[in-house]
C-alpha cells in the first residue's frame, strides 16, 4: 500500500499545527506545576536545619527567586532551542535523564500494547462468533473485572500469587542482580522480569479492546455484505478474518491510539509497584521532590508523544480504510 501524496501533505500540516499546541501545553503545565505547594529547595536540604543564606543561595542558583513570568520566559526561550535545562536534584541535563528512562517505558508499554491489542482483538472476534454462550459471559465478567481493577492492587495480587507463592517470576526491577548476565542471557533475564508488569499493564487495555471488538464484530457480522459473502460460499474463516475483521477493527485503531495517553499516565503506578526503571518513576520522583525542570521536561515529552501517536493513528486509519480522504 503506497502513501498518497495528499497524505504526506496532511502529515506535514498536522505536525506544523502541533507546534503551537505544544507551546500552549507547556504554558498550562508550567502554571500547574508551580501552583502546587512546596518547594524543591526544602526537598534538597532534607530533614535537618540549613541556614537561610544557604537556602536563598540555592534559590538564586535555580532562578526560583525570580517572579513567575520571568521564570516562564526563561524556560520558554530555552525550550524553543530544545534545551530542557538541568534537574535540580540530579544536577544533570533533563534530556539525558529522560532518555535514560525512555527505553524501559517503551519496552514495557510496547509489549503491553501489542500483546493486549492482539489478544483483545482475537478474543473479541471469538466471543462475537458465539455470543451469549457461557464462555462469552465468563469472558465479559473477567473483562469487566480487569477494566475496573486498580493497577497498583492488581500488581500486588500478581506479585503475591506468581512471585511469592508460585515463585515463577521476580518481583522487582529489570535485572537479576545476583547473577548478572550478558547477551542472550540478559534478554531472557529482562523478559522474565517483564512478564508481571506487562501483564498488569495490559489488563485494562485488553479488557477495553476485547469489549469493543466483540460489539463491533457482532454488528459487522450482521451486515448484508457478510451475508452475501456467506451466500457466495466463502469459507467462514475467510468471512470473519478477512471480510468482517477489516471493517470491525477500524474503531479499535482509534481506541488503541487514544489509550496510549492513558497508558503513559498508568506507567507511574505500574513502574512504581514493580520498580521498573522507566519514565513513570522519574515523574513520580520529580513530583515528590518538586523538581520543576524534570517535571516540565517529562510533561512536554509526554505531550509530544501523545500528539505524534494521534497523527500516526490517523495515518494508519487511512492505510486500512481507503475511503478516508485527507484535506
Amino acid at each position: 500500500m503506497s502513501l498518497r501524496p495528499s497524505l504526506l501533505l496532511y502529515v506535514a500540516r498536522r505536525l506544523l499545527q502541533a507546534v503551537p499546541l505544544v507551546f500552549v501545553i507547556i504554558l498550562i503545565n508550567f502554571f500547574l506545576i508551580h501552583a502546587a505547594p512546596g518547594d524543591p529547595v526544602d526537598f534538597l536540604v532534607g530533614t535537618m536545619e540549613a541556614t537561610p543564606e544557604y537556602l536563598e543561595g540555592l534559590r538564586r542558583e535555580f532562578g526560583l527567586d525570580q517572579p513567575l513570568p520571568v521564570q516562564l520566559w526563561r524556560y520558554v526561550s530555552k525550550i524553543a532551542v530544545l534545551d530542557m535545562g538541568y534537574s535540580l536534584r540530579f544536577r544533570q541535563p533533563v534530556f539525558e535523564l529522560i532518555m535514560s528512562r525512555l527505553p524501559a517505558t517503551l519496552l514495557l508499554m510496547g509489549t503491553a500494547l501489542v500483546v493486549s491489542s492482539i489478544v483483545g482483538i482475537l478474543l473479541g472476534v471469538a466471543a462475537a462468533r458465539r455470543p451469549h454462550t457461557a464462555t462469552d459471559h465468563a469472558a465479559t465478567f473477567v473483562a469487566l473485572a480487569g477494566y475496573s481493577m486498580p493497577v497498583f492492587w492488581l500488581g500486588q495480587l500478581l506479585l503475591i500469587a506468581f512471585s511469592l507463592h508460585l515463585n515463577w517470576f521476580p518481583t522487582q526491577g529489570m535485572y537479576d542482580l545476583r547473577a548478572p548476565s550478558d547477551g542472550w542471557g540478559r534478554i531472557v533475564d529482562v523478559a522474565h522480569h517483564l512478564v508481571l508488569p506487562a501483564l498488569t499493564y495490559s489488563v485494562y487495555h485488553l479488557a477495553l479492546v476485547y469489549r469493543l471488538m466483540r460489539v463491533k464484530m457482532q454488528e459487522t457480522l450482521a451486515l448484508d455484505y457478510v451475508t452475501t459473502a456467506r451466500a457466495k460460499g466463502v469459507p467462514e474463516r475467510r468471512v470473519v478474518y478477512v471480510h468482517a475483521l477489516r471493517n470491525a477493527v477500524l474503531p479499535i485503531v482509534t481506541v488503541i491510539g487514544l489509550n496510549f495517553g492513558f497508558m503513559l499516565a498508568g506507567s507511574v503506578l505500574t513502574e512504581t509497584v514493580f520498580a521498573w526503571p522507566g519514565m513513570g518513576r522519574l515523574l513520580y520522583e520529580g513530583i515528590q521532590g518538586r523538581d520543576y525542570p524534570v517535571l516540565m521536561g517529562l510533561f512536554t515529552c509526554l505531550s509530544v508523544m501523545v500528539i505524534l501517536v494521534n497523527i500516526i493513528t490517523d495515518v494508519v486509519y487511512a492505510v486500512i480504510d481507503p475511503r478516508v480522504v485527507y484535506r
Partner: protein, 537 residues
C-alpha cells in the same frame, strides 16, 4: 561380627575416604578462617534514586548510603557515639579545646591510584564542604582554619571551644564531611562535576555501574588501606520505590538488607519469627523522636495549661502499641534515650484524662452543651503510615476531653509548606532527630532565634529566654559533666513548656538476610560503610 565384615568392606573404605576428605576440607577451612569471610554480594534496597553518589550536594539519604562506601570520613562514630578511626588513624585535641590535629593513614589511595593526603582534606573542607554542603552553615562559622600542616597531618582550629565538634565531623549525615579527591575537583564546579555521578573515592568499594532508575553497583577495592577489608566482592543498591513490593522482594531473597525506615513496623513481628531473616535493632545516631508540634500562635494552644492538658490526655502507650505495633518506646523527653549521657525521663507526664479535663476547665475552656470545648486540626505528611495512625489515636484521646480534632494529611512538600513556611497549623506530627549531638539537632527546634519560616526549625513559635540562655552557653562547655547538667535543665524546661509533646522514639529496626554478619556495626547504621559486612558460608 567378624564374618559379617566381609561384604561391607568396600563401603567402609569409601566411608573412610569420604571422612578423610571431609576432614581435609574442614582442616583447610579452619586454617584459612580469615580469608573465608571473603566473597559474595550484598544487595541493599533503597527507596528512591539518589541525586548523586557523593555526600556534599544534599542530605539525600540514598546518596549517603552509597557515598559512604566510596569515600571515607576523617573519623567515624561507634555505637556509644564515641569517635573511631577512619582516614585519620589518630587525633588529638589541645587542652583549650580549640585545636584538633588529625593524623591520616599513610597508605590510603584514591581509586585511580593517587595517594590520599592532608591536601585532599584541606581542599574538601575549605572548598567543598564549607561552600556547598547544606548543613555547613550551622557549624562551619565556628572554624577559624582548616589546614594541611604535613603530607598526612590535618589541623582544624576553632574560634572558640565547640563541644559537638568531633561528633559532627564523625557524623557524615550531619556534616557531610567525607573527604573528596582534590585532583578531581580542583578547578571545577563541585556541584556539576561529572565525578558526582561516577565517583573516584578512597573507600572500601569502587564505583562500577549506575543503571538509571534500576541499580547502582560497586565492586571491591582491592587496594583498600584497611588490611583485609572489605570482605564482599560486590555491593549493589537496588532502587525499589513501593513499600509492599519491596517487602515481597525481601521475603523472596531478591534483596538482602532493608534499612530501618523502610521496614514497616507491622511486618517486624512476622520477620522476627522467620529463620531466613535477622533484625538488627541498632544504629540510629540521630536518635529520632516522633513529636506532636503545638503552634503557640493558636488561641488555645498558647495557654500552657492547654498544652499540658493535651500531654495528660494523649495515651502514648496506646500509640506505641497500635500505631507502631509495640516496636517503639514512649518518648519521655525532647532528647532521645539513646543519648544516655544527658537523657532524663524525670519530667514526663502520665496518662491522666481527669487531670486534663481539670486543666482545661481551669484555663477557662468549659465544655459546651454538646460536650465540646473547642476545635483543633492535626496535620501529618503522607509516607509514614504510623504517623497517620498516631494522629487518629490522638484525635480519639482529645475528643474524650472535649477537644474536637480534624485529621488532615498532605504530601510532604505541601506539609512543609503549610507547617514550617506558613505556620498554618494547630497540631502536627513530625519526626525530629535529637542526636548525635543535641546542640546540632535539639537546639535548632526550640531556640527563639530559630523561629524562621524554614523547614524543621521552631515553627511552633516557642520562646523561653531561660532556655535560650542555656542553649547559648552549653555548646562552649567542654566539661562533659557540666554540659550534661545543663542539658537536663533544658529538658526540664521543655517538658514543662511543651513546645511539642514527645510521643515515641522511632526504633531503628533494620531487616537483613540471616546469611550476613556485621552489616551494621556503628551508630550510623543505615548509611555506614559496609566494609565490615561479610557472608556466612
Amino acid at each position: 561380627m567378624q564374618t559379617s565384615r566381609g561384604p561391607f568392606r568396600p563401603f567402609r573404605l569409601l566411608a573412610t575416604l569420604a571422612l578423610a576428605l571431609a576432614a581435609a576440607t574442614f582442616g583447610l577451612g579452619t586454617a584459612t578462617a580469615q580469608p573465608s569471610k571473603r566473597g559474595g554480594t550484598l544487595i541493599v534496597g533503597v527507596e528512591g534514586e539518589p541525586g548523586s553518589l557523593t555526600a556534599h550536594l544534599a542530605t539525600d539519604t540514598a546518596a549517603m548510603m552509597v557515598a559512604y562506601n566510596l569515600f571515607n570520613g576523617l573519623i567515624g562514630l561507634d555505637e556509644k557515639l564515641d569517635p573511631t578511626p577512619d582516614l585519620a588513624e589518630k587525633w588529638s585535641v589541645s587542652p583549650d579545646g580549640k585545636v584538633y590535629t588529625f593524623e591520616l593513614a599513610k597508605n590510603a589511595k584514591w581509586h585511580d591510584g593517587k595517594p590520599v593526603t592532608a591536601d585532599d582534606a584541606e581542599y574538601s573542607f575549605n572548598e567543598i564542604i564549607a561552600k556547598v554542603h547544606p548543613r555547613a552553615g550551622s557549624w562551619w562559622p565556628n572554624v577559624a582554619s582548616a589546614k594541611a600542616t604535613g603530607p598526612h597531618t590535618f589541623v582544624i582550629t576553632l574560634k572558640a571551644p565547640y563541644a559537638p565538634f568531633l561528633t559532627l565531623v564523625a557524623s557524615v549525615l550531619s556534616s557531610g564531611t567525607l573527604v573528596l579527591p582534590k585532583h578531581i575537583y580542583m578547578g571545577t564546579d563541585p556541584k556539576t562535576n561529572p565525578a558526582n555521578q561516577k565517583p573516584i573515592g578512597s573507600g572500601p568499594f569502587k564505583f562500577a555501574k549506575w543503571e538509571r532508575g534500576s541499580f547502582i553497583e560497586l565492586s571491591r577495592n582491592d587496594d583498600y588501606f584497611k588490611a583485609g577489608k572489605p570482605y564482599l566482592d560486590r555491593l549493589v543498591f537496588k532502587i525499589m520505590p513501593d513499600a509492599s513490593a519491596r517487602l515481597l522482594a525481601f521475603e523472596r531473597g531478591e534483596v538482602d538488607f532493608l534499612h530501618w525506615y523502610i521496614v514497616p513496623y507491622d511486618q517486624v513481628a512476622k520477620l522476627r519469627k522467620d529463620a531466613r531473616f535477622q533484625l538488627i535493632e541498632k544504629g540510629d545516631a540521630a536518635a529520632t523522636n516522633g513529636l506532636l508540634l503545638m503552634n503557640h500562635r493558636n488561641q488555645y494552644l498558647k495557654d500552657v495549661r492547654v498544652r499540658r492538658a493535651i500531654a495528660y490526655a494523649v495515651d502514648r502507650n496506646d500509640i506505641v502499641k497500635k500505631a507502631l505495633f509495640g516496636e517503639a518506646k514512649v518518648a519521655k523527653s525532647h532528647v532521645g534515650s539513646g543519648l544516655a549521657w544527658i537523657y532524663t525521663d524525670k519530667f514526663d507526664y502520665a496518662f491522666d484524662p481527669a487531670r486534663a479535663n481539670q486543666l482545661l476547665d481551669e484555663a477557662g475552656f468549659k465544655r459546651g452543651a454538646d460536650g465540646k470545648r473547642f476545635a483543633l486540626r492535626i496535620h501529618w505528611a503522607s509516607g509514614r503510615d504510623y504517623e497517620g495512625r498516631a494522629a487518629e489515636i490522638i484525635k480519639d484521646n482529645l475528643r474524650a476531653v472535649g477537644i474536637d480534632v480534624t485529621v488532615l494529611v498532605l504530601d510532604r512538600p505541601s506539609f512543609i509548606d503549610k507547617v514550617f513556611r506558613n505556620w498554618d497549623f494547630d497540631l502536627a506530627n513530625q519526626l525530629f532527630t535529637t542526636g548525635p549531638d543535641p546542640s546540632i539537632s535539639v537546639t535548632p527546634r526550640y531556640h527563639t532565634n530559630q523561629i524562621k519560616k524554614a523547614p524543621f526549625v521552631n515553627g511552633m513559635g516557642y520562646t523561653n529566654p531561660e532556655v535560650d540562655k542555656l542553649f547559648d552557653a552549653e555548646f562552649t562547655e567542654v566539661d562533659r559533666t557540666k554540659r550534661a547538667a545543663m542539658w537536663r535543665a533544658i529538658q526540664q524546661h521543655l517538658m514543662a513548656d511543651l513546645p511539642a509533646l514527645p510521643l515515641f522514639e522511632v526504633p531503628p529496626i533494620h531487616a537483613a538476610s540471616a546469611k550476613y554478619r556485621d552489616i551494621v556495626t556503628g551508630s550510623q547504621g543505615y548509611i555506614e560503610s559496609r566494609e565490615n559486612a561479610y557472608m556466612v558460608r
